[in-house]
């Protein structure tokens, strides 16, 4: 029942958006309302002990579209479900504040994207996952190209080109390969591949998934994410926190745990190469982030780096590391959505996009900047904020598996995060103002934007203390 609700509610919301297209307040209000119900359902599902498999329909023999909520999927559904109404509230404020056009189309595809994210989260087999993965790609394309400018069209090409090509060439190859090898596509705890494949080929198959899931933005398949920054900020929030990249790393983690099986990966050493690729992605993206002065571009590269953590957790192939990666999905979502909400608030209130122009802005927008500091500290991994836990768990997992060098990677990464995120906060609060506003004029964004970003900042804090609820046991 909850499965149908989580999948169906966003669809109902999208249909109502179309029906109510000429009554903006009602249209947006119902999306918010349905979002809240969805969040409630996601929480209830997360709390439920276990759920059965639901088969919606069958494409052909062996190709079922079915849903099996397992702990990892429930966690992703929770993240997407809870952040959706928050993001909707923010979207309402942003779209009106920034004077964007075509609200109906925007709200429609936003809800479809949530539907797709739910489908990915609850998918019971690789086919279902692939189907919703593609729905997510195509439903977010109109959001990325929303402005319709030549840059937006160009960004849309990169977005669609990389995501579709990688999924159609590599991911689908992997999916059908698993089908031919094992005769099944179902996710099972402990994995399905052991005994069906010569261990020599496992790293290659893993590569098909690691790079085929372009949404995980593992370098060198990350270009679409910075390109998509031309879209309105609520889209960035959707891409970076609620659905898209989270769907990517979630898929990597889910495939590692339920298709390969972390024991199988560890015993065959098949994922060692991915540890180093992910480590490279973490460090290289952080270094690129430092060179960017456009706030959203810097945050985009920060995301690429942070996604590396989750892929790393899957590649380390220990229960602790995988669990740390799962925690990081939630922790990074709360932290990064706060940062993007703040970036959007700065744009709507003062039309600033470049970090160099934001000196002293913290004194004009104290609430926004305080929330930003919370989000930044969580991403850096400072207690008592959520990001601290995932980093500790990943470090523990690395030690379990004897990858001592990974400890160094994580520490250096934290330092780099501190530099490029800390700079923004420090400039905001302490640098001499360059924005031309009197420092005692408090000028915040509208309340409908301020409220969500305070809420998500509070989530980062709350997650730290409620961490017990988010540690999943993957055995092994």
């Amino acid at each position: 029942m909850l499965i149908y609700a989580l999948l169906g509610l966003p669809l109902i919301a999208s249909a109502l958006v179309l029906v109510l297209h000429d009554r903006p307040n009602l249209r947006d209000g119902q999306a918010l309302f349905i979002g809240l119900i969805t969040a409630g359902c996601a929480i209830q599902l997360y709390a439920a002990p276990h759920s059965e498999t639901v088969t919606l329909f069958s494409l052909a023999a062996g190709l079922d579209v079915s849903f099996t909520p397992e702990p990892l999927g429930k966690l992703f559904a929770l993240v997407a479900g809870v952040l959706w109404p928050v993001a909707t509230l923010y979207t309402i404020g942003y779209m009106r504040g920034a004077g964007e056009k075509n609200h109906t189309r925007f709200m429609f595809f936003y809800a479809i994207a949530i539907h797709a994210a739910m489908g990915i989260a609850l998918s019971g087999n690789l086919l279902t996952l692939f189907v919703f993965y593609e729905i997510l790609t195509f439903s977010t394309y109109p959001l990325v190209t929303h402005k319709g400018t030549p840059e937006a069209v160009q960004a849309g090409r990169i977005y669609l080109g990389i995501l579709v090509a990688s999924s159609v060439i590599l991911l689908l190859f992997g999916v059908i390969g698993v089908w031919v090898l094992t005769g099944t596509l179902d996710f099972q705890s402990g994995g399905i591949l052991a005994g069906h494949i010569d261990p020599f080929y496992v790293p290659f198959l893993l590569g098909l998934f690691a790079f085929g899931i372009g949404k995980a933005a593992l370098m060198p398949l990350h270009r679409w994410l910075p390109a998509a920054m031309v879209a309105p900020t609520p889209v960035s929030a959707l891409l970076h926190a609620v659905a898209v990249v989270k769907a990517g790393v979630f898929t990597v983690l889910k495939v590692a745990v339920y298709v390969f099986g972390i024991d199988f990966l560890r015993e065959t050493g098949s994922s060692d190469w991915l540890v180093w690729v992910a480590s490279f992605s973490i460090l290289a993206a952080s270094i690129v982030a430092m060179t960017k002065t456009n706030l959203k571009a810097r945050l985009a590269y920060s995301t690429i780096s942070q996604l590396g953590y989750i892929v790393l957790g899957a590649a380390l192939a220990t229960s602790l590391a995988a669990s740390g990666a799962a925690v990081h999905i939630a922790a990074h979502a709360a932290g990064k959505i706060t940062l993007f909400f703040c970036a959007g608030a700065i744009y709507v209130a003062h039309h600033l996009t470049d970090i160099k122009d934001m000196n002293g802005l913290g004194r004009v927008m104290p609430v926004t900047y305080t929330a930003f500091a919370f989000g930044a500290l969580s991403i850096i991994g400072v207690p008592p904020l959520a990001g601290a836990w995932s980093k500790i768990m990943l470090m523990g997992g690395a030690l379990d598996n004897g990858h001592v060098l990974v400890l160094g990677v994580l520490m250096v990464s934290s330092l780099l995060n501190l530099v490029y995120l800390g700079e923004i906060v420090l400039r905001g609060f302490f640098a001499k103002p360059t924005h031309g506003l009197k420092s005692d004029d408090v000028q915040e964004a509208p309340l409908s934007m301020l409220l969500p970003l305070c809420l998500t900042a509070a989530m980062s804090l709350a997650l730290f203390f409620a961490i017990d609820m988010f540690i999943l046991d993957f055995g092994g």
Binding site: A61, F138, G161, L172, I176
Partner: protein, 494 residues
């Protein structure tokens, strides 16, 4: 009555053709064509049901003469699957034809147009049903000759239709001649033309060079007729300059029938075990198939005329069918049948939608559809869905085709070929998205003609679009039917 159905669905359009030529008056000939193609579709649907419930081939002895003396019509799992594809597409194309023909062809020629239209359909249905190798040649010529005439009728508004039809005629005749030379050799070796009989007697002469030569001639002739790369150059101009209704009918059906005949002869007569078939012809088909997939896709990417663009895409899609055949396995053959079916739906949808635009502005090109997404959203959405299906996006029929095709390749350990197939299908995104960007992300230029759409324009295309989605979501029965069809030619478990 029921036992005459196998011959009736060929006979009705065949006998209707001269009648249509005599009919005068508004829409009379069209009405007759609609009636007869509708009847043929109904009959083929009934035959599918009959064959399915019987579980074995239905044999019809023409004139009461049993095989091998007389000619037999055979409705087995394979012909029962392909018949409704052709007759169904013919029916939908006929529905759309009324409007398209009115816009594109001189009113005095309508009766003759529908006469040729019915003849080409009768010829295709005949090739599918007959169990006699020479009868196949006869029907092949019936459908081809009338198709040349249909293409040439595009000359009324586009003179390039004439050289296109002439090229088509020359190459089509070469192909048919190759086929009949091969057939002559077979007749010389075995003294029979009945397909079942041929298959039995060929075993005795398997090691002779003449039998392999016959295979080579027949295969080559059919490669030409099915437009397998690099023998495809007749196809693009023929589809592009033909009247829009003819483009839709031919793109969806004509080459498929040749694919079917190739399968029937290669596997049904010579057999997978046949000396040299798997190594020589099989390898050749695989190579040409993947080469065609790339050649067609890349040519489509740089094409700006929409009819030519999708004709090039057809070359690529025929390449995929060829790959399925070349895999020489149960799954491969099933994948070829699945794609034959699905591709007919997608290309039918696309050419009907493009025809609706071409009939209004003379030529559907990247330029004439700029900004069309807001003026004719329903038609353009049909093109969007058809395009997504060509890429192989999940929940469209194209996805099912691709999954089974790649599965067939991986089962045979052709993983490099599987990778190439994926790459070429991803490249399809480039030409599909070119259209989407032009239609939706560009403004309609000032002074561009206003496009309109009424149900007359989009209903036929949308019938096909709905089928594309329907068979993409509930593909189970199709997959079963395709495996049953493959089982006619290849033994072995699923």
């Amino acid at each position: 009555m029921m036992q005459h159905l196998p011959v009736l669905q060929v006979l009705l359009p065949l006998l209707g053709a001269p009648l249509a030529a005599l009919l005068r008056g508004r829409d009379m000939a069209w009405g007759l064509a609609l009636l007869l193609t509708g009847a043929a579709f109904l009959i083929s649907a009934i035959l599918f049901g009959l064959q399915y419930s019987a579980g074995e081939a239905l044999i019809y002895d023409l004139g009461g003469w049993p095989a091998p003396l007389g000619i037999v019509y055979v409705i087995d799992a394979a012909s029962a699957l392909v018949l409704p594809v052709v007759s169904g597409l013919a029916f939908v194309a006929t529905i759309a034809a009324r409007r398209l023909v009115e816009a594109e062809i001189d009113a005095r020629d309508h009766a003759l147009f529908y006469a040729a239209w019915l003849l080409t359909i009768a010829g295709m249905l005949g090739q599918i049903t007959t169990g006699d190798a020479f009868n196949i040649f006869v029907f092949l010529e019936i459908s081809s000759l009338s198709a040349y005439a249909l293409v040439a009728m595009g000359a009324g508004r586009d003179r390039r239709a004439l050289p296109a039809a002439f090229n088509y005629l020359i190459l089509g005749t070469v192909g048919a001649t190759f086929y009949v030379i091969g057939l002559g050799l077979l007749y010389m070796l075995t003294g029979t033309l009945n397909l079942t009989d041929l298959a039995e007697r060929l075993a005795e002469v398997e090691s002779t060079r003449a039998s392999f030569t016959a295979l080579a001639f027949i295969a080559l002739g059919l490669f030409l007729k099915m437009a397998l790369f690099p023998l495809h150059f007749w196809l693009v101009p023929a589809y592009a300059h033909a009247p829009s209704a003819v483009s839709a009918l031919m793109a969806a059906t004509a080459t498929k029938v040749s694919v079917y005949v190739l399968i029937r002869l290669m596997f049904g007569v010579f057999g997978v075990e046949f000396n040299g078939l798997a190594d020589a012809i099989g390898l050749l088909i695989l190579t040409l198939g993947i080469a065609g997939a790339f050649a067609g896709t890349l040519a489509a990417i740089i094409e700006t005329d929409l009819k030519k663009l999708f004709a090039q895409s057809s070359i690529a899609q025929l390449g995929y069918m060829a790959i399925g055949i070349g895999a020489m396995s149960m799954t491969g053959l099933a994948a070829a049948f699945i794609h034959l079916f699905n591709h007919a739906l997608m290309k039918g949808a696309l050419f009907l939608a493009i025809g609706a635009i071409a009939a209004q502005v003379g030529r559907a090109s990247m330029q004439t559809i700029e900004g069309a997404g807001r003026q004719i959203p329903i038609t353009m959405t049909a093109i969007l869905v058809g395009g997504l299906a060509l890429i192989g996006v999940p929940l469209t029929a194209g996805f099912i085709s691709k999954v089974y095709l790649v599965r067939a390749l991986l089962e045979q350990n052709f993983w490099l070929l599987a990778a190439l197939t994926f790459i070429s299908s991803a490249l399809a995104l480039a030409y599909v998205w070119k259209i989407i960007e032009a239609a939706w992300l560009k403004e309609r230029p000032k002074g561009a003609p206003v496009l309109v759409e009424t149900p007359v324009h989009y209903v036929p295309a949308w019938l096909m679009v709905l089928a594309t989605i329907g068979f993409g979501i509930f593909a189970g029965p199709l997959v079963d039917a395709a495996y049953a069809a493959a089982a006619v030619f290849i033994g072995g478990a699923r």
